[in-house]
Amino acid sequence: MRSPIPPIPPRKSQYGIDPSLVKKRVSELPGMTSVLIKELFPDMPDIIYPTDKGIEAVRKATEEALKHVDMSMIKPEHSVNILASHHGFTLLGGEPYAEMLKTLKDVIQAKTGCKDIRLRAGVGLRFRETEEYIKRYGLDKYFNGKAIGIAPIDEGVPIETEIGTLYGIKRAYDADWIVHAHNSDVREVHFHRQVDRAVKPFGMSYARIETRSTYHQNMGPRAANFVARAIFDSPFVQKKFAFACFLTVAPHGIIGVDADNDLYALNDRITFIGCRYYGKMMTLLGSIDECIVALDFPCPVVYVFAGGVIYANFAGANTDLYDLDSVPLPSYTWYTEAFYGKNGKPLLEDIPPLNPAIKMCIHNYAWVGYPSAFFSEHIPTVVVGREQADLFNRDPQNLNYMKHALIADDLETAMEFAYKVTGTRKVLIFDGAIGGINLSEPLAEYLLKKAPEVNEKVENELLPKWLRQRGVDIRIRDQVGKKYAVSM
């Protein structure tokens, strides 16, 4: 068996405990190993990062992708807002996304002569998160002091759409042109269901609370994504939209950069990537019969990564998150969470429970800043270290998290307890290991055995269905195939 892959190190942040308090990583425990994504699915595309070419490969790929983009609408005297989102900075340590943003600035400036190029970086529910990234990657300097974090409670701007007035963040749109700089990582499939993934930030990280609440409360789990499309299609946004540039990502790394003046064309390509590559990982993880989950990543509980899949998605992996017809409400999404009544049961009988394969959750290291009590309420959870418990008790979004969780003094005690109580030796570690998954030996064997049949099922049965449900022509396979080489 392979040794574990070094996990993403703890990161200093106001949303997490001090890195010095993370005494041990779960992958350092006895019996832990790793599997490479390429071992599981040999037909995953080649990656451009991380490789021995370093971060320069991201710069090159961005420059290459931008060669085909029309920027003639941007004049030297104009202003441009490059719109970014926090999520990009959580991918592979954040450097590739930061490099793409820097390259974007350089290319726009070189191609158009425009000098007033700003970075506006949106957030989720941690309003200072992108401020931290801007500092960490030197983006404030790179953008000559014109890089700021924007939050959904900042001043708004009304946007007239075909479904009425929605609201954006004023400073996202305070330029002549906007450039949509995002990534194709699927992350919250439970919310967006891989419908208009490329468009989503217009309804989220660039949007005000009214819009985000519309998405999460007014529309329903599968109609919600239209909120973003309505904003993007509005005359207000269309007048400013120049082009989009995306870091394209698969579960094992960055596979390229895609840029286009036509966001919907780009959207179809990343829908394909999302369904095909992440669909395989999710289907595989969904086949796990029992396991202990370990959280060990500098991100809120729901967003910790294993094999490119976040914990929130694994918590719903007992259902097919990509299947829009058969799964109206996944096991976890905010609509689902909202629909649990007072006796702790779903209001509708057909609402599925959180993934019953998760027997226990060991929370070794994860951040606050996202309402996560639903998880500790429904999955037995042990939090390592009192400092971490205190942090959750001080977070306005998580005042109930520790009500349902136990505290262990150290990781070893927590794991021992989990092994004893659950009776399983299968452990899945969400620690952002790059290129593979850290896990226990019995689970590694299980996944390696299951992967070939999952691969076949996704390619032949599920992928065509998923694309059909989204109105994406399966022939896009050839177009995308040409873009991303596969070395077996």
């Binding site: 409670i153 208009d196 329903g220 629909f339 005042l399 109105g471």
Partner: protein, 206 residues
Amino acid sequence: MKLVNLIAQVDRGKCVGCKTCEKVCPVLAIKVVDGKAEVDVDRCRGCAACEQRCPVYAISMQKRDNPLLVSVDIASVNYDEILKLCSNALLHPEQVVCYCTGTRAEEIAAAILKGAKSPEDISFMTGARTGCKVECIQPILRLLEAAGVKSTPPQGGWQWYGRTVTVWEIPKKVREKHSSRGFYFDEDEKLLDRVRTAPLQGRGVK
């Protein structure tokens, strides 16, 4: 219901009087007086919106010596009135509208029945919208509207701007134009109808 265990504290030496905190506070508990921000300790619900947006990092969140439990007792109003209000707002009374505090629609409705006239009143009375500060504004506005309360946003503030569309209101032509691209309007409308009319699990019970 929320246990308010934090309070905002202003470092007057750092404060530049920009009023950002005033514009984002969901309960109007912080105001600039003579060029410096001041917190009303009885009103503050410990949401940290001001601390997270102050441009000069002049605000910190401190532990309250005596945490404050804020809630509206649903037993203190006629539950039939709550049912009526939630039904008009197309919400199930037991559905959670604020994920951070676990506040259900019925408690918001009770706050309105007890005199809340704005989202600010509701947040002050129930603690809803003092967690993430983002996701629950629409059901709150829907419930106020269903009660016939005409609320206007705080003048000059950024607390909220207005109610937006619900799935029931999506025009037919929009549905027809876009449903082939994975937007399940009709199906989700039916789903939400099933939810809002689902049986109660604990009528009137806390």
